[in-house]
């Protein structure tokens, strides 16, 4: 893919530091233009959707061009100017299910080199008992110095850690070096030029795919782990050994015409497996909808063998036709649960959820999205958690996301592919085992402030709740905490004292990395919380949340939906305005993109000789 081959990728380094789940990744790549004409070099990398870009720079002939995070509105003028000039190449694009692609190109003079550096940060989320760090690599050509290096610091202790790559062959396997001690792990992978080769006599590289680091920490049984660092605290709560709560679940299934074919078949298949796995103490109901709404039975049923068998028979009859009356279907599901609760037919200490699966916009009954949100919110009154699954690409995912957030749930996209059944079951597995309900975190107001969300509807098995905040006094090294929730047997209340640890004792030989990480973790979580609030509260609350999120995004240099990164890069001699526009897509705009990113520069033949002279402005945006 690299032609002419006079761009030599000299160095690709992906360095990642994880401290208490907060991951800081720096991708650096250096390329040399060995030709005697200028050439365009493209830097493409992929980063997780959950990450925020924090820095980008290009170093060309000793001069560094650094990205600057600005308020989106303020950067908009440049954006509009570039749009009007008709150049709309995006710097950030959706890429596949989990990643976003960042790409920028720059014209490099003959015999010159360029070094690109991209930094991003994210809080790793625990799912099904593990954290996962994903690094996508696709250098497209052999690289003189290729290196992935990751250091994981977990004060709670590391329970296990695996490192592997989709491109790792038996020959490459010994090159994945992994050292795990009690609280620290080091992973590295650094193949030589020859080891990167696809075959002994060809120039193709076999380094092409995803590199994963999966790990878990040792979890405390009761209060969880509280870390106090430099005036900030973070509370990780994931107690082991809790029994799951019985659940009352209503499956709301779209059977409109657009579901016909593979989608309907995959939905039936997934439902059959999910029903088979229902624990007998659970209660469930099935609501199918197209133009109208059909319920399998008029009330929730215990998941006995007989009931499950009959429900499966009902699922087998589901076929796709008609319009999409989502409003009535969700309201029916809420009603089923509310009536059952009023009639005391559900187990005590159980948790209620609705799982909505749809592939399109409302086209029948109430069709106004705002009105549907309002109707569901008013009927539910926060009692039931609603999870939304958007199947395929025609669905307005943003609409589902807001509905889920307003009802304390989550939304997930299900990609139309052969593994859709696995995706459906996977999501269900994540949310089907609830260990605690109505989880509340109490910290004394005279000790802490600016605490991220303290109330959570559920704690799922294998997940973790993270709460962070600021201490009123930097000198404070301990404060009391209390966690209360509903468990299967009774009220779950644990009390204790959070106290600061001495990092010099925990990691005596390590450089100091933790103070800044905890503060940034707090900022990252707070921004995520505020962005959620934008979809939930009153107009005034939304306005305040937006203003606060913007302030923090700018202060901590995060590219979030409210900010843009403006990158200054060398100007092209021939074009007066050589501008690219970066647009991070909203969920609605995301499309599965089969293209994969390249954490390395690649070359494109230059259309003509060009040199850079004075700076112009480029920018990376986020939406």
């Amino acid at each position: 893919s690299v032609n002419p081959p006079q761009i030599e990728v000299q160095n690709v380094k992906i360095a990642c530091k994880v401290a208490s789940r907060f991951a800081h990744t720096i991708m650096t790549s250096t390329a040399l233009n060995k030709a005697n004409i200028s050439q365009e070099v493209v830097f493409e990398v992929e980063l997780p959707k959950t990450a925020f870009i924090t820095n980008f720079s290009m170093e060309i002939e000793g001069k560094t061009y650094v990205g600057e995070v600005k308020e989106k509105e303020k950067a908009k003028k440049q954006y509009e100017a570039a749009v009007s000039s008709g150049q709309t190449a995006g710097l950030v694009k959706a890429s596949g299910r989990r990643m976003e692609k960042f790409s920028v190109s720059v014209n490099i003079a003959a015999n010159s080199s360029v070094t690109f550096t991209l930094t991003y940060e994210e809080l790793l989320q625990r799912q099904l008992g593990k954290y996962e760090l994903i690094i996508r690599v696709k250098p497209k050509q052999l690289v003189q110095h290729f290196e992935i290096v990751a250091d994981v610091y977990e004060p709670q202790g590391i329970a296990f850690l695996d490192a592997y790559g989709t491109f790792i062959t038996n020959e490459l396997l010994p090159l994945v070096e992994k050292t795990v001690t009690d609280k620290k792990a080091h992973v590295s992978f650094s193949p030589t030029l020859d080891q990167q080769r696809k075959c002994s006599d060809c120039d193709g590289t076999q380094i092409d795919g995803d590199f994963f680091i999966n790990y878990d920490v040792k979890h405390a049984e009761d209060l969880g782990d509280i870390q106090i660092v430099n005036g900030y605290f973070v509370h990780f709560f994931a107690p082991d050994n809790l029994q799951r709560l019985p659940k009352n679940v209503v499956f709301v299934i779209d059977t409109s015409g657009s579901m016909s074919g593979a989608k309907m078949q995959q939905t039936r298949e997934a439902l059959l497996t999910i029903l088979s796995d229902l624990p007998v103490e659970d209660y469930f109901a099935l609501v199918a909808f197209s133009s109208g709404v059909v319920t399998w039975r008029p009330s929730l049923q215990k998941a006995t063998e007989e009931n499950v068998k009959e429900a499966k028979a009902f699922v087998q009859t589901l076929s796709a036709n008609g319009w999409t009356n989502m409003n009535d279907a969700v309201l029916r599901a809420v009603d089923l649960l509310n009536v059952a609760k009023e009639q005391n037919t559900l187990p005590e200490n159980s948790t209620s959820i609705i799982l909505l699966l749809t592939d399109g916009d409302p086209t029948s009954g109430e069709r106004n999205p705002d009105k549907i949100h309002e109707n569901v919110r008013n009927a539910n009154r926060g009692n039931i958690t609603i999870f939304c699954l958007g199947f395929g690409y025609d669905v307005k995912f943003g609409f589902l996301e807001v509905m889920a957030k307003q009802n304390n749930g989550l939304a997930r996209r299900i990609y139309e592919a052969s593994d859709a059944v696995v995706q459906l079951q996977g999501f269900y597995n994540e949310i089907s085992n609830v260990l605690l309900a109505d989880v509340n975190f109490h910290y004394p107001d005279n000790a802490v402030n600016s605490v991220t969300g303290r109330q959570f509807n559920q704690l799922f098995n294998g997940a973790e709740i993270v709460v962070a905040g600021r201490l009123n006094d930097i000198e404070m090294n301990d404060f009391p905490i209390e966690v209360s929730a509903q468990s299967v047997d009774n009220k779950y209340v644990v009390k204790g004292q959070a106290s600061a640890q001495d990092w010099n004792v925990i990691f005596p030989e390590q450089e100091y990395i933790f103070g800044d990480f905890t503060e940034r973790l707090w900022a990252y979580l707070t921004i995520q919380n505020l962005l959620d609030k934008k979809d939930k509260g009153s107009p005034e609350e939304k306005q305040n949340a937006t203003a606060k999120a913007l302030e923090l995004s700018l202060k901590y240099n995060f590219v979030t939906p409210l900010t843009s990164m403006v990158v200054t890069k060398p100007k092209d001699e021939e074009k007066q305005e050589d501008k690219l526009i970066a647009d991070k897509l909203t969920e609605d705009e995301r499309r599965a993109d089969a293209q994969v990113g390249i954490p390395a520069p690649i070359s494109r033949p230059a259309t003509s000789h060009r040199t850079y002279t004075s700076p112009s402005v480029n920018w990376v945006d986020s939406d």
């Binding site: 005036g231 090294n477 600061a500 640890q501 001495d502 990092w503 450089e511 100091y512």
Partner: protein, 239 residues
Amino acid sequence: PHFIIEFPDQNDAFCFNIDDTPGTIFNLITDPLTGIMVNGQTIGDKKIDPEKTISTYFGRFGIIHAKFGIRLVVTTQDILVSEKGKQAKLFWSENTAIKGPNMDLHVTKDRSLTVTLRNSMKFVIILHKVWNKHPYHQDYLGFYTLDSHLFSERVHGLLGQFFHGVTFEVSDVFQGEDPDKPDAYMFVKGHNLTVTRGWQKDFRKDVKKGENVPCWFIHNNGTGIIDGVIGDYIVSGLF
């Protein structure tokens, strides 16, 4: 430590850093006519962050007013005051106000100490509190003169030499190494210096965030702007 010399009338300022080994004591103000002397001792970090250069801060100040028989030792832990043989110890952890015949003291808990010496000077010492379990950094102090017009013409020291003003001229602003920080030529005290536009923080109003003060930065320990060399200001003891 960072030094900032502001010229409010000209709406300008210059600044410089003094880097030396921790423990060094610098003379900041000496006025033989009024009998006032201010010395400051530097501290370093608890240990060296491998990714950063060695930084020093002021950790202890010694202030003397010979005519009033006043001595003050201000550290990050406490404030020792003696006046004509009588001694008192104040702590940063309490709000305290003392009004005497020649000196007023006001401690704002964990934040600042304001000292007014009758008919001579007024200054503020800011306490910068750092998380006590921080592996690298530790508490340090800042010194701000609020009123210096009653010093004599003979006042000197790293700060004192600027109390009666200094004439400087900045010209030919040009692009420096950092595109955001232009360089310029400054003519001062008979020297032609290359200076860089930057900023330093004034922490009087907000001890945590500080307030940016744009200033012309003089490189190499203030060489050219201070009289003599930095070694001339090193003293052997706090008093």
